[in-house]
């Protein structure tokens, strides 16, 4: 039998239903499509990725054969980076898994859940969908406005930087022309020429030199300040975008490659009823991490912070080795291979910048990702450092989430 997916092939759906068996969801698709026409049902993983990337639907409804499979699918999509935009997610599950569905929502993996087997309250599903669409539309509008706003500021800053460079070029040319003209100027007699030469040597040339230096310094300072503003705007924009992405997506991406095991004793109808009375000892999806073998080096002179970063990474299953100086790091990197380096900027003997410079000369370390650990105050230094190839930078003390996100960004996992 042909899959019913073809029935809902809206190119830019606002609502998508992700499932593994379309046949099972006839009633659900009918309810959803009666509520919204921009709707699409997807059961193929590649199509899911493609549609999510292209259309960024506002509401994602997931109805796999079990809750654990739904969680697995959502976390896989989050890890692929296709859910990094404001959206709402709804879990559809069978009555026997209502407790698990409830707990998934309590753990912020899904925004809401609905029992579709058996489906008693189709108006309840319509209500959930209606509310989800309103919330996600608002979030999406805020993101679009902020992106447009920051984009405009960024364009204006770029224009100002270009204008400053152009002004510098023109002013330099004017000064050069003035010098040339001066060189060609002669008096009507030798005495006057000598006087002009004297004036030129004593006053005009030093004045032009001073003007040129001042001009150059001022333009450099102005450009640097504009570039700092550009970085600040980009950071703020990224922060706002990150905040507009629902918690559910963050939670799901944190599951990463974790295997979701439903160590759930499937409850009978009576057990489900009791579960509603006594919610405490209920089954819930258990997340079992796979062992991760990536090797990470932490280079930080402060032992407390070094130990904190190492602990966060070890708890995630990474193999961590920490050192207190750049020199030790270089020695170790010559002997062993690492997947990622966290590095402090200010360290005794050899700072982060010079350590990185040395590391880049070690065979096999030319492209090793380096994450800078520093404070917000050292932007110029970070920029200089970044020219040697930095994967990310973390403002101390940061948070566990940001640190793990930076690791994730470097594509370092099991």
């Amino acid at each position: 039998m042909a899959r019913k997916e073809v029935e809902h092939v809206e190119r830019h759906p606002k609502v998508v239903l992700l499932c593994d068996d379309v046949e099972e969801l006839g009633g659900v698709t009918e309810v959803i499509s009666s509520q919204i026409t921009a709707f699409r049902t997807l059961s193929n993983y590649d199509s899911m990725q493609e549609v999510l990337l292209e259309a960024a639907p506002l509401v994602i409804i997931i109805a796999m054969s079990s809750v654990s499979r739904s969680v697995e699918l959502y976390s896989k999509l989050a890890k692929q980076g296709v859910l990094d935009y404001p959206h709402e997610n709804i879990l559809l599950c069978e009555n026997k898994e209502s407790g698990v569905g409830f707990r998934c929502c309590m753990k912020s993996i899904f925004r809401d859940y609905f029992i579709y087997k058996p489906m008693y309250e189709n108006y309840r599903l319509r209500m959930i969908l209606h509310n989800a669409l309103i919330r996600s539309k608002e979030a999406s509008e805020v993101t679009n406005i902020s992106e447009e706003h920051f984009g405009r500021i960024d364009d204006e800053l770029k224009q100002l930087i270009d204008d400053a460079a152009e002004y510098h070029k023109t002013a330099e040319q004017t000064l050069k022309d003035a010098r040339d003209n001066l060189d060609q100027t002669e008096g009507i007699n030798e005495v006057q020429t000598a006087l002009i030469q004297e004036l030129k040597k004593q006053h005009i040339t030093p004045l032009l030199d001073k003007l040129e230096t001042q001009l150059s310094d001022s333009v450099a300072e102005l450009t640097s300040r504009l570039k700092n503003k550009q970085i600040s705007v980009a950071e703020l924009s990224a922060l706002l975008t990150e905040r507009s992405i629902p918690n559910t997506s963050h939670h799901a991406s944190q599951l990463k490659e974790a295997r979701v095991v439903t160590a759930v004793k499937q409850p009978s109808y009576e057990e489900s009823y009791e579960d509603q009375l006594e919610p405490s000892p209920a089954p819930e999806p258990e997340v079992e991490s796979r062992p991760k073998t990536s090797k990470i080096m932490v280079v930080e002179d402060n032992e407390i912070y070094r130990e904190m970063i190492s602990k966060i990474l070890r708890d995630e299953g990474h193999n961590v080795e920490s050192v207190s100086s750049g020199l030790t790091a270089i020695k170790m990197l010559r002997k062993q291979k690492y997947d990622l380096i966290f590095m402090d900027l200010f360290m005794p003997e050899l700072d982060g910048y010079n350590t990185t410079k040395n590391i880049r000369n070690i065979p096999n370390c030319k492209s090793i990702p380096i994450i800078a650990l520093t404070s917000n105050k050292n932007k110029d230094l970070i920029r200089k450092w970044a020219s040697l190839g930095l994967a990310a930078y973390i403002a101390k003390p940061s948070t566990k989430q940001s640190i793990l996100k930076a690791v994730e960004k470097c594509n370092v996992h099991s």
């Binding site: 930080e300 032992e303 407390i304 912070y305 904190m308 966060i312 003390p397 566990k400």
Partner: protein, 118 residues
């Protein structure tokens, strides 16, 4: 953490370590104790360096301690360590002394805050 405005800063911001390490109280207390020990020896070192007028070393030591102060959420300590860094960079002896004295009081404040929470 912005340590530039003293009014917004706490003696011990618990949220900082919660966001870094989660809610493992034993771990958090252990790091706090390590910080107090580190702060004590660092402060003695800074005082000795001040007597010898070694401003570059004072700056380095203050920067070193600032990292752990920020990490455990000792925001006011981090603020005064930044002030010491700035004063030593400017070779401002008077300001440097004043901030070292205030830092000593702030570290005591962190000690009291840690004791009241354990």
């Amino acid at each position: 953490m912005d340590v530039s405005n003293l009014d917004n800063l706490q003696v011990l911001n618990e949220q900082v370590m919660l966001e870094l390490l989660g809610d493992d109280t034993t771990e958090i207390n252990s790091f706090r104790q390590q910080f107090l020990q580190q702060a004590k020896s660092s402060l003695q070192k800074i005082a000795a360096l001040y007597r010898e007028q070694q401003f570059k070393q004072i700056k380095d030591e203050a920067h070193y301690l600032k990292t752990s102060a920020k990490a455990i959420g000792a925001e006011r300590c981090a603020y005064y360590l930044q002030q010491i860094e700035d004063a030593s960079l400017a070779l401002d002896k008077v300001q440097c002394k004043q901030h070292i004295q205030t830092l000593s009081e702030e570290i005591k404040g962190v000690f009291r805050a840690c004791s009241s929470q354990t």
